[in-house]
Amino acid sequence: MGDAVKKGFMNIGKSVTKIDSLSLAAGDAVFTDDVHVKNPLYVAMLYSPHAHALIKNIDTSAAEEMDGVVDVLSNKNVPRILHTTAGQGFPEPSPYDTVLFDRRVRFVGDRVALVAAEDERIAVAAVQKIEIEYTVLEPLFDIEGAFNKDAPKVHVDDEYAKIPVTYKPENNLAAEIKIDFGDVERGFHESDFVEEHTYNTHYASHCAIEPHAVLAYFDEMGRLVIVSTTQVPFHARRIVSAVCGIPVRMIRVIKPRIGGGFGGKQEVILEPLAALIAWRNRRSVRIVLSRREVFVSGRTRHAMRIRLKTGVKNDGSITTLDMDGLLNAGAYGTHALTVLSNVGSKTLPMFNKVQNLRFHGRSAYTNLPIGGAYRGYGATQGCFAFNQQVDIITRRTGLDVLEYIKKWHIQSGETSKVFEALGEGKEGVSQTIKSCRLDECIDRGADEIGWYKKRGKRIQSGPDLVRGVGVAVCMQGSGIPRIDMGSASMKMNEDGSFNLFIGATDIGTGSDTILAQIAAEVLQVPTQNIIVLSSDTDLTPFDTGAYASSTTYISGKAVESCAREIARQITGRAAMLLETNEDRIFFREAAAVDEKTGKTVSFEEICLHSLYQDEQFQIQAQASAVVDESPPPFIAQFAEVEVDNKTGRIGVVEFVSAVDCGQQINPLLVEGQVEGAAVNGMSFALCEEYLFDSKGRMTNPRFWDYKIYNAGDIPVMKTIVVNSYEETGPFGAKSVGEIAINGPAPAIANAVFDALGVRMFNLPMTPERVWMRMKEEGVI
């Protein structure tokens, strides 16, 4: 077809309106719990009040006798099938340590039983009539002591790892990773000074405003339809099948509109329960979690302790870098290995010139809520430590932190051994960076915030208010190379429009729109000519789902190659109609043009001809994409803070994000991803906090007490997207979904130091914590 697509983008790089946004704004868009299901069973759950206990006996008879109660599930009547809720590819890198209802409870909020009833009130009342006899065991809350011989053991039964990885539940070790390059000890020996610091990041909830929900019902053929707030419909189908013993062919999973995910809805928690109740009772089922349940029994960001030890020469050269990470997996090991791996793999390649490098990471089981996937996925934890360490080193050596980062960070044409060493439960994939415009991100971000006018100036902005600025740089990935797969199929309609079927899962990010733009660009039609149907395991081809910043890059490549095959078929028909050679055809505005004669034939005519006239066939195609690398987007984020030096209250005055995500597919959606992630990151850094009592109970599982940012809290926000192009990406694109959540905490912490000279090693930076640190440092 020659170079059918002329240069100069028609759809790419344009802020095409997000295709579902009007429907959402008008209130027509359908979310899981908006789907009408006739007479569903309602479900209420019983959770453990103990952090660690054995269930001696369960008496469900009083609940079962209640009018309107249809089914009661517990370990008495549900087979014990080990699995992981992680919602990852198969075989999963997370341990198989979970069953639907176990004999042992491992945290306050662990599921013990459930009641399915004719209405919600009955279910709630009945669940309280279930009587459980527990043998209470000593709980394990302290991650530092988790590996001690006499520490309580969280998993002592038949839990196992599905793939060959280090997994020692008998030691509470949910995962372990070790990499070692060069000679770390010699590096310390050669250094002029050593900086060793310990950083702690905390638990956090995703707080998608829509709580987890699932419906299950039977279609007219007796197949089970599961409508779910899932980020991973295909994984959900596979896991439901395995856990419930229902054949895959009998299950259809549909993801309708979804009210935010952020990783929390990658977990396949509710689908097996709904499927099981439906299957046992031949009834429709509805499960919607309360906000409390999402906080306590959903998933969280893994809390972490990271110790960073760097050997440094007086000129600032890092002779050795030693990172020791201890991740609090909570009660189950979902994502405990891969988040841990990402702590290293998304931070250590940043300074790829460091020759001596060690990363030792361990994930510990505890009797606390369950960690899991959360936007940023370990990079958030790692960046908090790494960027403060860089700030500390440059302050001690008197170097300009921006110039220092520019000198040391990975550049286009360079690689890092870490890429090859750290993968997703196995070794990673070696890659050379092909696009990195981080220098420009740093320069433009610094200009925007007025860095050199503010840094180190401690500007007084009120009687007790002092200002400071801080910076953080981060990288993420674009999907999981040689593991994640996306696919697409397309067909042409007689008005020159196209149906695009994708397994990719739009969780509010706008990926349906992005993927339509990619298809439209290949075919040189307006984006509105692409009709998207996504995330239905019956109708759309496979996709691993919405995680690991993979959709634009991997699913996008599948869509691009699918559309190219459609273009090939259109070109063939056009050549036939224009009586010319295929290599003389190019596309312009939904028509094929003979570049010699200038004669055109519209897509409408082409499709009509191919469907009705001669040598008929349906112009249609399908394609899959697996990638060999995961090109990192890069970001520089700058915070200006105003600290009350009497109370320790931090206000963020301005926040600037400058990002290199390759070619932007849709600038408005890129900005939306960056702004949303940055605000989530600030909220995480400053006010979100899980509070636990001495028994391991979360005491603030509600938005009143677990404070997240609202419209009144945000600072002046600036987003800069630098011009970049990733040659391996679809139309030059990389990912942008996660990266901007990582920088706020370290940028703010560095800004606080700039203002006060006080280092914040622990999150969140609440006024109390800042005030205590000011006391410790004697500045108050």
Binding site: A25, A26, D33, G259, F262, G510, E671, G672
Partner: protein, 155 residues
């Protein structure tokens, strides 16, 4: 018990229990554009206009507001005839997952009814009872500013 409401201009008579919330009743009878995010009056996904006043419908007993006028986001505009606030949300990219959007738009409407020319602080205050986890609020604030301008210009 039974009760009548004027919902988006239509008289609706439905039965419910005395302790049912307005949110539960609205959703049960098909007004699913009113979303439930927390059931504790904090997230704002369920806000509707009750005789023109913005309320969290999860905090109101249906029985206590019988015969009152209730407006949901669908009462402001539709996909085919959107309200300028809805159009502005779409145009500036203020809609991501869209779960908070119906509530946000109702809150913006309530503000602009009282104050057609709000400044940034007033917009932020008017929206601070509505949580959004996707957008970072930047484009939502921009959408309200744009809608206000257009509504002023077009009377």
């Amino acid at each position: 018990m039974e009760g009548s409401f004027s919902i988006n201009g239509e008289e609706v008579t439905v039965s419910f229990r005395p302790d049912d919330t307005l949110l539960a009743v609205l959703r049960k009878y098909g007004f699913t554009e009113v979303k439930e995010g927390c059931r504790e009056g904090e997230c704002g996904s369920c806000v509707v206009l009750l005789d023109g006043m913005l309320v969290n419908s999860c905090q109101v007993f249906a029985a206590s507001v019988r015969d009152k006028k209730i407006t949901t986001v669908k009462g402001l505009g539709t996909m085919h005839e959107p309200h300028p606030i809805q159009t502005a949300f779409v145009e500036v990219g203020a809609v991501q997952c869209g779960f908070c959007t119906p509530g946000m738009i109702c809150a913006a409407y309530a503000l602009l009814e009282k104050n057609p020319d709000p400044d940034e602080t007033e917009i932020r205050q008017a929206l601070d009872g509505n949580l959004c986890r996707c957008t970072g609020y930047v484009k939502i604030i921009e959408a309200v500013r744009l809608a206000a301008r257009r509504m002023r210009e077009n009377g």
